[in-house]
């Protein structure tokens, strides 16, 4: 069996950033395995702009953003294989992949970085009542048809879910001649970025119905009509609030889920994000297997994926160079937060630690407090935090020097 120092599974924004960082820290024996025919992952179809503000201090489209990373990967001569699907990994880091040229190959890796991204929650997961005709399609698939291949999936469209892809597709399909009738969101708030509501919906007078969901799909073979109803606090439809839309397409933008069958198969501990649990160096709870990007927790801004990829690349590089055993503490949080990544921090802390989390509801004028044993380690004031925007709190390593008990993140709202 061939051996490699570092195998990176997935050549999207997380995987490429991880590879570049690990390479620059001295790990030269790297292999990126990408299932698709090009590097860049989902960014290839995200042709809208808004990427790179943190990373490059300019606003780029998805393909431009990925091409900069691709250039860096190629400049370093980091090896990558396309159309190469990893079908299995083991706890002792044997990676099995397959492609046309080599067939099925097993390699023994000293470290693995999972950067497999996410997949779209689809109709199957939510069981929308009514018929199951053609014309119910996830926003990302419709985006691929339109932005990679040049085809529209429908001419009159209702969008369920106000996730960013749905909002971006509302504008994109409108620009290409489709009529987007409305966006319906079951939660009382939008799951997309504010700016996307403004520039993708408001610009085109597309109504956004909050606390509304699809109560019925009508159409035997093709979608003919979609019925939207208001929901109560328990997400039950309120009779009498039905609105009917004649349309040929129901576009679903109802969430993204980390795509981590490989980790599930080896019983890697999974967090409430549906991604793996990790330490502050992005290492999962399985020795030498790291994770970053949307397969860890779904991000709203790609720049943060790249940064997390670098953290994983850095973590893997240190792991390969040092490999020393340490102990760790848990990261806990109060009920206003839906999760915190990482779930554990290794001690003694040698580097700054960034805690990333999402809130469960909109919170205004609040302090985010990180403590350990009643000692406040950091306090950050936030004017507004919403579930659709990830919050990051950076903790200075000097403040964490004597850390020996769990970290606790809490949010204190100001009266």
């Amino acid at each position: 069996m061939k051996e490699r120092q570092l195998v990176i599974i997935g050549g999207g924004s997380g995987g490429m950033a991880a590879a570049i960082k690990a390479y620059d820290e001295g790990i030269k024996d790297i292999l990126i395995l990408e299932k698709d025919g090009c590097l860049g992952g989902i960014l290839n179809q995200c042709i809208h702009n808004g990427f790179g503000l943190t990373e490059f201090k300019e606003e780029l489209s998805g393909p431009e953003y990925l091409s900069r990373f691709e250039d860096e990967v190629k400049k370093r001569g980091i090896e990558f294989k396309l159309h190469s699907l990893v079908t299995n990994i083991t706890r002792d880091k044997v990676v099995t992949y397959t492609n046309k040229e080599e067939g099925v190959v097993e390699i023994k890796a000293q470290a693995i970085i999972m950067a497999t991204g996410c997949y779209e929650r689809n109709a199957g997961a939510i069981q929308i009542p009514g018929d199951r005709p053609k014309g119910v399609i996830t926003a990302g698939t419709a985006q691929k048809y339109l932005n990679i291949h040049g085809y529209l999936v429908g001419k009159r469209v209702v969008i369920l879910g106000s996730g960013d892809i749905g909002l971006i597709m509302a504008r994109r399909m409108t620009l290409e001649g489709a009529k987007v009738l409305c966006v319906s969101e079951i939660m009382p708030y939008s799951n997309g970025l504010q700016r996307n509501i403004s520039q993708c919906l408001n610009d085109f007078n597309i109504p956004l119905y909050l606390s509304h969901s699809v109560s019925k799909i009508v159409g035997k073979e093709k979608v003919e009509k979609v019925v939207i109803s208001k929901v109560d606090d328990h997400f039950k439809f309120i009779p009498g609030t039905e609105m009917e839309f004649e349309c040929d397409t129901l576009l679903l933008s109802i969430g993204l889920i980390p795509y981590i069958s490989l980790l599930e198969n080896i019983n890697c501990p999974i967090s409430s994000t549906k991604g793996a649990m990790v330490y502050d160096n992005m290492e999962t709870f399985i020795d030498g297997i790291f994770a970053c990007g949307n397969c860890l927790h779904v991000h709203d801004v790609v720049d943060f994926v790249s940064e997390e990829g670098r953290n994983a690349g850095h973590g893997a590089a240190l792991y390969l160079k040092e490999k020393e055993a340490t102990s760790s503490i848990d990261v806990k949080y109060d009920k206003l937060l839906s999760y915190v990544v990482p779930q554990k921090v290794r001690i003694p802390v040698k580097e700054d630690v960034t805690l990333k989390f999402r809130v469960r509801r909109e919170i205004r004028n609040a302090n985010v407090i990180v403590k350990s044993k009643d000692q406040v380690l950091s306090q950050t004031f936030k004017m507004v935090m919403i579930p659709s925007e990830m919050v990051m709190i950076k903790l200075n390593k000097d403040k964490l020097a004597n850390l020996d008990d769990e970290l606790y993140v809490e949010i204190v709202e100001k009266k």
Partner: protein, 113 residues
Amino acid sequence: MKEMTCIVCPRGCRLKVDDEMNVTGNFCPRGKNYAISELTHPVRMVTSTVRVSNRDNMVASVKTSEAIDKDKVFMVIEAINKMSVSAPCHVGDILIKNIFDTNVDIVITKNIE
């Protein structure tokens, strides 16, 4: 007093503009510029795709080099849809120079070899 969400970057600051064009709620100076421009002369970046003449079922992504007048957005899309490129094409290649005399170019944003 007008309220709006800044669309300059994904942060999405909530801006308030009073009658004297004083802007509050912005995190950075670009928010102030955006608010004033939005009230006086709104502009938008346009991103779309163009046909690749020598590839089947494939398009190349494009964008405006700068934001253009909001009311010209659909005209720009229409102009792009009349065009095609042939592969190979690269990020930064100019598809349409100075579209509608706006001093804005339509540029390719994708590498196709």
